[in-house]
């Protein structure tokens, strides 16, 4: 008898089984199921965006209302949100699309969002340096091996490496194509089998952490 937690378990099992069947049978109606479910997902995701906006604005309105620490940042966020929404709507009315090159919305994207994204991305260089410094300290055999390999690969990837020895770039390529690739494929194999295991556990209802 289907009741309580058995209902979502039965739905998961049925949908999982249908998806597996559709993977092997391209004939209609099975072949179209994946595309149809992706469309359904997109529609649901569109509506959940409202929940996301509700969560974001709700959090910051509360911060402003309670005058919590750094509440001024929340005002900037709310003002930015409202400004972008108005720019998007206005751009659509004025030019037919918010993404039109003449719209203020595109201006905001090109001159606010893109530079901010680039700034965050460029921080990565400094983070790589600090993380590499810690990782490459030759405290044990493993770290020393990592350090030596990293030096060889880095030198093999720049013109000065070729200047030191013409064999260095070739050795770098060998490191990347043989030991590195072997390790990567080994990890990949485990990941795919693991993913298969997770899927079987969820479909058969053994993994119920999403239901608890």
């Amino acid at each position: 008898m289907l009741k309580g937690k058995n209902i979502p378990l039965a739905i998961t099992f049925t949908v999982g089984l249908i998806m597996i069947v559709s993977f092997f049978i391209p004939h209609r109606p099975f072949g179209d199921i994946e595309q149809i479910s992706l469309k359904w997902y997109s529609i649901i995701a569109g509506f959940t965006m409202l929940l996301g906006v509700d969560s974001l604005l709700g959090l910051h309105f509360r911060k402003v209302k309670r005058k919590e620490e750094n509440w001024i940042h929340s005002i900037v966020l709310i003002a930015g949100f409202v400004m972008v929404v108005i720019a998007g709507v206005w751009g659509t009315i004025q030019y037919g699309s918010a993404f039109d090159e003449r719209s203020f919305f595109t201006y905001i994207y090109n001159y606010f969002i893109v530079p901010l994204q680039s700034t965050m991305f460029s921080l990565l260089a400094f983070f790589v340096a600090s993380a590499a410094y810690r990782a490459f300290r030759a405290r044990n055999v493993d770290a020393a091996l990592l350090l030596i390999t990293a030096i060889i690969v880095m030198l093999g990837r720049v013109p000065v490496g070729e200047l030191i020895s013409p064999y260095l770039p070739k050795f770098t390529d060998w490191i990347m194509e043989v030991p590195q690739m072997a390790a990567k494929r080994g990890i990949g194999l485990g990941i795919y089998l693991g993913a298969l295991g997770v899927s079987i556990r969820i479909i058969l209802g053994i993994e119920r952490s999403y239901l608890s």
Partner: protein, 433 residues
């Protein structure tokens, strides 16, 4: 002597004049719009038509082979269904050798299963004009004609090929190996499930990163700091995100037991909603639903670096005692992990993105590498029934290693040492896989 010299000079002059005249003549052919007319006889019925195998129907594959001298020419394909003609593709490079006439989202009945179609190719040296495209599909065009021309060039028309019908397949033969693997692993899984039910003890190796979960939650509680759980920038359809959500359930239960706080900044609203449910259920299961606060699982943004900036800011303000990075991560992985390190939090990371694993290994205290992340939920719960899936995965791994070793030996003896028998066996193995 003088006579000989004069004769030599005369011969050389004649030779140069003749060469110059020939060069002039050959130079002119480059600009001659009728240059390809000499290929007329070669086209014939050049298109090979077939139904696209292993598809859901509504698709025809069109192949052709041409001389190398025509590889830079353009090809236009016309389809005929009864009296209706349609341009399938225009201005394709002749060297591409293949095009598919298929249904699309915009036109779902472009190719109808069971209908007879005929195809013709048109070869041209330059791109086809719109007037010619219109002419090619008009009723007055004689499909028996071998050439047509406009002011710029001559177009060669192939013989009509066909008929061909498309049909839907009932089984995708390309996925037979996947089906066999899935059957084997399901069988092994059910076998170990049965053994576990009968009380057989199944072994799972120690995973330090997961043993540290309790320590991390306990330490944060002692310090009076919250725990931050980052699910990355994956969607709920991604397996690493699903694995991250299952681990979140276990971590949240411990958080509830320790009566501390968990923050889950989310990249995707669907993931946020799912995470809210997972945490709520975990708190309820731990007997502390009163501690659950929906606002602690919040949406940040769907911009990759905007998300990284938002989470970094939150880390610096809230100073969590433990940071969990479990899910799908890309370029933002190190930005998040290094910020977590800078605030002195215990960090337990896990992802299936092999390119991001080195960053996590460098910046975090513990890293779950690939399959360890998938096994985390089982490890934290230690349910014998769930352990059976890990045992089945291990047996499958052994089977794959045996196949790899067989491939290695056959590869050395066959293609390596050129022993024909092993070469055939090696090719057979490749074909099966």
């Amino acid at each position: 002597m003088k006579k000989n010299l004069v004769l030599l000079l005369l011969s050389l002059t004649l030779l140069f004049s003749f060469s110059f005249a020939q060069e002039q003549a050959s130079g002119g052919t480059d600009l001659n719009p009728n240059a390809i007319s000499s290929e007329t006889e070669r086209l014939g019925s050049m298109l090979q038509l077939s139904d696209i195998p292993n598809d859901g129907g509504g698709g025809i594959e069109i192949n052709w082979t041409l001389n190398d001298s025509l590889s830079n020419y353009f090809i236009t394909i016309i389809r005929r269904e009864g009296n209706i003609k349609k341009i399938v593709a225009s201005d394709l490079l002749a060297s591409s050798g293949q095009v598919r006439d298929v249904n699309s989202d915009e036109n779902k009945s472009n190719v109808k299963d069971g209908t007879e179609y005929f195809y013709t190719a048109v070869l041209s040296e330059y791109a086809v004009s719109q007037e010619i495209l219109d002419y090619l599909v008009c009723d007055s065009l004689d499909m028996e004609a071998m050439t047509i021309a406009d002011a710029n060039q001559v177009y060669l028309i192939s013989d009509e090929s066909g008929p061909v019908k498309s049909k839907a397949s009932w089984f995708n033969l390309e996925r037979l190996t996947v089906l066999i693997s899935a059957i084997i692993i399901t069988f092994l899984f059910l076998l170990y499930l049965q053994l576990a039910r009968k009380g057989k003890e199944l072994y799972i190796r120690k995973i330090s990163g997961l043993d540290a979960v309790e320590e991390a939650v306990g330490r944060s509680t002692e310090m009076g700091k919250p725990i931050m759980y980052i699910l990355g920038i994956g969607y709920v359809t991604d397996i690493p995100t699903i694995a991250g959500l299952t681990i979140l359930g276990r971590v949240s239960k411990k958080v509830a037991e320790y009566e501390t706080k968990i923050l889950v900044p989310s990249y995707d609203p669907v993931v946020m909603t799912t995470a809210q449910e997972v945490v709520k259920e975990a708190f309820t299961e731990a007997g502390r639903p009163d501690l659950y606060n929906k606002n602690d699982i919040m949406y940040i943004t769907q911009d990759q670096f905007g998300y990284a900036a938002g989470v970094d800011g939150m880390m610096l303000r809230e100073k969590p005692g433990a940071v969990f990075l479990q899910g799908l991560f890309f370029a933002e992985s190190l930005i998040l992990a290094e910020t977590g390190h800078s605030i002195g939090a215990i960090q337990i990371a896990g992802t299936t993105e092999t390119a991001q694993l080195p960053f996590f290994v460098a910046a975090c205290d513990y890293t779950l590498i690939g399959e360890e992340m998938m096994a985390a939920s089982v490890y934290l719960q230690k349910d014998p029934l769930m352990l059976s899936s890990i045992a089945a995965e291990d047996v499958m791994k052994v089977i794959i290693i045996i196949i790899l070793l067989i491939g290695l030996i056959l590869g050395i003896l066959g293609p390596g040492m050129h022993i024909e028998f092993f070469d055939k066996l090696f090719n057979l193995l490749i074909e099966i896989l």
